[in-house]
Each structure stands twice: as C-alpha cells, then as structure tokens.
Amino acid sequence: MAQISMEQKPVPKRKKDNLAVRFAKQWDIQLMVLPALALIFVFSYIPMYGILMAFQDYNIFKGMAESPWAGLKHFRMFFEAPEFANVMRNTIVISLLKFFIGFPAPILLALMLNEVRHMFFKRMVQTVSYLPHFLSWVIVSGFVISMLSTDNGSVNILLTNLNLVEEPINFLSIPEYFWAILVTTGVWKEIGFSSIVYLAAVAGVDPHMYEAADMDGASKFRQIFTITLPSIMPVVIIFMILSIGNLLSAGFEDILLLAKNPVLREVSDVIDTYVYRIGIENSRFSYATAVGLFKAVISVMLLTIANLIARRSGNSLW
C-alpha cells in the first residue's frame, strides 16, 4: 500500500519500477476492472468489428474471415432501394415530430407543476405521470390498442357518445393517424419522468429573484419567461444536445408494436425497423449491417455538430 502512494508523488525521483512490476503490484485493483473491461470488449467491441460485414458479401457458412469483400455495394443498394425514400422520410419526420413535441412537453409540465401550491395535488400528478415510464412497451402498446380498438375501445365509445363519429374508427389501420398516435403515446409514456430533471432545475432557482419580481409588479406568467426559463436554460441545452444525437433514432420498440398492421408500413418503416426486418427476418446480414452503419455514422456526426454549437454557447458536453 505504502509504495503505491509513494509512486503517486512525482517529486522524489526514486528508481522507477518498470510497467510490468508496477502492474503486478496493483494486481488487486486491476482484478476489479479487467473482467468488466473484458466483457465490454466482447459485447461492445467485437460487434464493432462485426460492422466489417457491411463491406462484405457475408456468408454464414464461410464466416467473416472467408466471405468475399464487396466494397460499398450494400450502401449503394440501400440508396437505390425502392424503400429508401420512404424509410428516410419516415425516420426524419417521426424523429423531428418527437423532438419538437416530446422535447418541450416535459419542460412545460415542470413549469406548470412549479406553479401548483397544493402539495397533495402536485404529488398526485407527479406520482401518476411518472408511472408509465416504468411499463414495458408491450404493456403500453396493449393499452393503446385496447383504448383505440373498434371492439369497444374507450376512445371509440367516447366519440360515439359525443356523436362525433357514426361508426367506430379503426385508428391503428389508417396511415394518416399513425404519426399522431405514435408521438402521443411517446409523450404519454415519458412526459412525467422526463420532467424530473427540469423540476429539479426549477427548484434550484434563487427565490429572491421572484420576490424582487413581485416587488416590481411582474405577473406570475411573466416571471416564468423572464426568470424561470432563463434560469433552467443550461439544463435544457444539455438535454437538447443529447436528443439531437438521437435524431435518427425515430423509435424501434414503439413502432414495432404499434404498427403491426402491414397497411401502416409506408408511414411506419424507419431505419431501425427496416434493419430488423431485412436483417433478422430476411437474413440479409451484410445489407442490414450497412444500413445500420449508415445510421450510426450520421448520428455520431449530428452529435458532434450539436456539441460544437453548444461549445460556442459555453455548454459543452465534453
């Protein structure tokens, strides 16, 4: 123990043990990290090596070492595929919709909750709205399917009772409604839970600022925009950067589970579900890997750009 802490200090230049000896001396702490790093290597880095499949004509029987190289063939195939335009449009539109609706929604909720003075009411809304975050997408999709079903789904019961529709609408088989259903479900599931960080940020605002604003006669409404929002801006920006990196992740589980009706494919097929369908279901491994890589590269680029912009404003992640 003592030697280790001696080596920490750079000043007394004692004879320095070579790396192997120093490594052997700290075998106990290396033993803490190396097994975990080995797992990370196997389950994260070997798949990264597996990406090379995208540039091969992968053959299951030959394996990666023997399969012939194919250059950029699979990427070219994707760009020329008849599905390409549709998949890209859906990916971009759905992720933008989720970003522009799903990102501000929890901020709005946090601002509203912050104005509530009845603690019981506030806690009840919080408890209820956090809950869906903890449910699996299977359950949530089950709720959505049951609420919207023509077989006495509550939404159709409501609409018929209000005389808004004649016949129950089969919402999950009409392409026009799909994006709205998907985005609403996503907001429903995450709005409460995502609001936690913003609520904490709001709670950290100096109360003296509100007192001063009260003195000056500013309305509560005005204080939200002149005090609360500017105060939580740093948090908002960090989370915005994070979600920009995810812009091409339009969704996977939610789309897989809500768009079971093949009629919806033209509006529901995004990069991730496309990769799943052609890769796992059709076993076109090389092609699917190429499509996945295309997405991953763009995502990393988006994140880097977003971070560069944020660094200008002094809110960098790195």
């Binding site: 702490i29 290396q30 797992l39 299977v138 709720f143 006495n152 409404f221 990769v275």
Partner: protein, 298 residues
Amino acid sequence: MVRLGFGDRVMMVVIYIFLTLLAFVTFYPFWNALVVSLNTGADTAMGGVTFWPRSFTLENYEIVFQDKRLLNGFAISVARTVVGTFCSILVTSIFAYGMTKRELIGRKYYMIMCIITMYFGGGLIPSFMLIRSLGLMDSFWVYIIPTLVSVWNMIIFRTFFQGLPAGLEESAKIDGSGNWGIFFRIILPLSGPVIATLSLFTAVGHWNEWFLPSIYISKNELLPIQTILNQILNSNIMSEQMSNLDSASQAVLSRMQSVTTKSLSMATMIVATIPIIMVYPFVQKHFVKGVLIGSLKE
C-alpha cells in the same frame, strides 16, 4: 403572499385543469384494463364498460393462472430480474470502485474505452451474430451476461464513490485492509441509496425487456412474460390465441364461454404489470434522486 392578478388567476385555472386532465389520461388506461379484466368477456363485448365492472368475475384470471406457459414466463421474468440485477450491480460496482483508484495503470485508456461505447456500437445485426457464435442463443444466460456491465451505471457509481470521505479508506488501510476488503466492508455499506436506485432501474429494465428474447430465444419455456404477452396481443383471432394456451387452460376455457380475447389480454397485462405497480410507491423517492445523480454527472 402577493395577491394574484386576473391574468395569473386564469393561468392557475388553466394549469389545474390541464394537470387534472393529464393525471386522468395517464391513469385511465390502467383502470380500464383492470376493469375489463374483472368483467366477463361476453359482457365487455356488449360495450360501454369503462369505469366500473358491470358483470364482475375472476374467470379471466383463473385462466391466466392455469396457463402453465404464462406462469413459466412469469417465473423466467422473476429469475432473470433477480439474478440479472444482482450480478450486474455487483460486477459494475466493483468495476467502478477500481476505476476510482488514481494509481490504476491504464485508467485513462480504460475510461476512453468505456465512453466510446456510449456513443457508438455495432448495432443489431453484428450483436446478433456475436450472440449466436457465443452459443448464447436459446440459453437463459443471454439475459444475464451481455448486460453484466453497464457503463452508464459505472459512471454513476464512480461519481458516488469519489464523493465518499477519503479518510475512511485511509484509516481502513492503516488497519491493514486490502482494496477488496475496503470495498466490501466500507464502501458498499455506505452506498445504500445509490445501490437501491441503480438496482431499481436495472430491475425494471430486466422485467420490461421483451425484444431480445423474441430474436434470441426459440424455446417457449425460456420466454419471459413480456414476450409471451406480446405474442398473445399479436394473435387477434380468438382461436389463434387459444391455441397459444396449454391444454389445461383450454379445458377450463371450454367451461367459460364468455371469455374473449380482450378480457384475457387485459388480465395478462395486469398480471405482467403488478410487480412494477407494487414496488413503485416504495421506490419513488429513490428514483427521483437517482435521475438527478445520473444527470449531474453526464
């Protein structure tokens, strides 16, 4: 207390109405699923069952609890959640403690190796190929091993450990404890809150995961309840759904003509949700803290 102006009073009314609506819209699907699951299927099919069961019955649950496949799925889910969470938290916290050591040779490179995986990965297909070549397909361990180490949790643990007073470790060292001894006797007992929070999130992740089993597991007896539930929800036609049940339940079913796809699906959904609902009130205060730990140290 400053008196609210007219505009502010309007705003407060709007806020209260909105929040009440939000709470209702969030709660109602649960409630309705519960109500439908406690109502006879035939009666539900007549329409109008919303807030309260009209023709109360437990027969939907009887079928669910007679179905060996569902019970087995439930057991698999419990097993993977308990074993997976325990192992993952243990391995990840030991890893994190090692990473707090300044003298650790290669610490910087280890950290870079971890962080890269947070931004870039091999993707679905290469991971699928890996699992297949490791022989983890159709094995219970596919639930446990690939998720043993979570980089995200490691960083949260590390931040927490670094915040513990350094004097504790020093005095234990003087008493002659090694690093492993310090970790198990001093660090872990002091880490209750962070262990509780991260265990909760890990456990919820395990309980809710349904997709990977659907591609990695083909043996029915290894499927977790969420994946089975998805298969049940998928089969729209009653006969198809009934064929998913085993013979014991089908015998019960033939006595109960009034059970429908919908009532059965809802009962299964409630059964799959109950564990979450039951632990939820106890852990609510923990996860709020946990989210904040996680977001402070990005």
